[in-house]
Amino acid sequence: MGPLRIDPQKAMDEALRFNQRIAASFKTLRSLDEVDYGATAKEEIYREDKLVLYRFRGANKPTAKLPLLIVYALVNRPYMVDLQNDRSLVKNLLAMGEDVYLIDWGYPDQSDRYLTLDDYINGYIDRCVDAVAKHCKVGKINLLGICQGGAFSLCYASTHREKVKNLITMVTPVDFHTPDNMLSHWTRGMDVDLFVDTLGNVPADLMNWCYLTLKPVRLNQQKYIGLVDILDNKAELENFLRMEKWIFDSPDQAGEAFRQFIKDFYQANKLVNGGLKIGDKDVSLKNVTMPVLNIFAEQDHLVPPSASRPLKQLAGTKDYTELAFKGGHIGIYVSGRAQREVPGAIHDWLAART
């Protein structure tokens, strides 16, 4: 019998439909509006260098007692958490009564090349935490770190315990040396000093090229074959293009911060092995004693679950909760399941602790 039952005439029809959709795309692509993003109104409450701290405005006044500050990664733009009306972690959190703030890091240029992790964590993040606390007239705030921003938040929470009431980490790498972590595997043969000394800031295009080569066929061909299926659907095409914009709208990375992040986190795995120092502060996850909610994605190819899970053993907290989300690194913000499961889990967990 064999494993294939492809009827040539049906296959021919499939090819014809494929072709017709491509033909239709000419009209659809021309009719698309400019792809916008960011669904929720926000106000600026603090600004420093290229960084802007925003407070989001919901339809109703927040009911949460403490504000929630989102610390996003440096490697992508933070509007992923508020991408569009029906795909917005921020919007859902606001609707549940949370008071949500976000750090937008901006786009570093060569004048930012010498920004260090100390500048980012003990400088920018600390001043943003102070600004949020002052704005809300509270002594402590809740922190939500995402991906690399989660690693930064762990460092910050470890060294500024007096300012963090509750910590949430999302798709955050903790153990960088698990065998399924391809990105980490590749960085370990790199001479990062030579890399940063040569490039200065690390170009966004180079970073994106690296991410695409993690799954070259899926991300560079299969995805675009799939695009053909929606070429005659304006709304879905706009969603696709919005996501495409987010994926490739990446900031360059400040050279010195990149150097230290690769050396201490990816290569030396100091969050696990110890010895991590940010500026003059020793970082130990044992000092993360506040309640922790650790959310990771089960199909995450950038931060595998195995890289996030060790936080349970390493954090000093006695109040640790874990949420394994069925999806990937991006689906955890934008999928329908994410809208249903993630904001509610965060809100309920916080409500029980503030």
Binding site: M12, A23, D191, F195, T198, L206, Q222
Partner: protein, 345 residues
């Protein structure tokens, strides 16, 4: 002619062409008892589309990527359907794997990419501002060709005389180019290995589908199965110790080449009295250091002032309660004057 009108013209041309093309195709399919004619490749329809679109001046990055994927996919479909129509595959997954391999080798493609679909994917990623290993290697090729045509031994000849420093630098730069090309060759060999392994994995996956309810019934399902196989093969190679070493070698060698080129550009810039990146870096570095020192100094000063304010508040509170503190007594100007007068006596 307005842009809108030209678009309508273009659409009419395209639709007419497609109708003609697919009618001919369907006739050919019927005549050949369901087997597509390999002499008329399906992806030619997309070539015509691309040519038309190119003429209309509206080609862009999105469409380029779409077309690249679509053409490859159509060529693959044709190859698989030909195999199905002619019953060349039968129950043997190896035959299907071979048909798949042929589908990737589109007419006119770079011979280096034949039988190596993963290398093609990696090459396709490159675009404006995003050069992959392959593109960078190609851009360095003229230097490499020159270095190799003159023989590599000259790279190690001692330099002397007035221009010895320059010669030594050029030698190091050329040696870095050669080292980079060697590293890229080793990288490409591993990608080829992954491509070859992908067909074996594909055969295994296909064989596993030979049971009721799991059989493949459409070209898209077959393609998706191959993607799974290709990613699995690539991941096996990419997570190996050998790949880690080779990947590191490629990145490091490329950085050495870039560093040499940058140094040369700086030398030329300096000769012409232009500011250089090294100078700018020095300024940026000093600025950051000054800022940190300023911020730390200012933080300390703020802390001192906060302590002083706290002490003063405490004194004020004590004074309000009507009891002088030793500190206020000693610090009060009146007391100081009395003490001084007593001292003079």
């Amino acid at each position: 002619m307005s842009d809108e009108k030209s678009a309508q013209d273009w659409m009419a041309d395209w639709q007419a062409l497609q109708k003609q093309y697919w009618s001919a195709w369907q006739d050919a399919t019927r005549n050949a008892a369901g087997a597509p004619d390999p002499a008329t490749p399906w992806h030619e329809g997309f070539e015509q589309w691309a040519r038309l679109f190119g003429d209309s001046g509206k080609q862009n990055e999105t469409l380029d990527r779409l077309m690249a994927g679509a053409k490859g996919y159509m060529a693959l479909m044709q190859s698989m359907i030909a195999a199905a129509g002619q019953n060349t595959g039968g129950a043997d997954p190896k035959a299907w794997s071979e048909a798949m391999r042929q589908g990737f080798d589109m007419p006119g493609m770079d011979a280096l990419l034949r039988g190596n679909p993963l290398a093609k994917m990696l090459r396709d990623i490159g675009g404006p501002g995003a050069q992959g290993i392959d593109q960078l290697s190609a851009s360095f090729a003229p230097f490499l060709a020159q270095a190799k045509s003159e023989g590599l031994s000259w790279l190690h000849v001692p330099a002397f005389g007035y221009a010895r420093e320059h010669q030594e630098h050029y030698q190091k730069m050329a040696a870095a180019f050669v080292e980079y090309q060697d590293a890229v060759s080793r990288y490409n060999a591993l990608i080829l290995k992954a491509s070859q392994a992908s067909f074996g994995i594909f055969e295994d996956k296909l064989a596993a589908r030979d049971e009721p309810g799991r059989r493949i019934e459409s070209p898209r399902a077959l393609y998706d199965l191959w993607v799974d196989a290709a990613e699995e093969a690539y991941a096996q190679v990419a997570l190996s110790d050998e790949f880690r070493k080779v990947y590191g070698d490629v990145v490091n060698a490329q950085m050495r080449v870039r560093a040499h080129v940058q140094a040369e550009v700086e030398r030329i810039g300096t000769d012409l009295g232009m500011p250089t990146r090294t100078e700018l870096n020095s300024v940026h570095k000093r600025l950051h250091e000054m800022r940190r020192a300023g911020k730390n100094g200012s933080d300390q000063r703020v802390a001192e002032l906060e302590r002083e304010v706290a002490a003063l508040r405490s004194e004020v509170a004590t004074l309000k309660r009507g009891r002088p503190t030793p500190a206020t007594v000693a610090a009060h100007p009146k007391h100081k004057a009395v003490k001084a007068a007593k001292g003079r006596k």
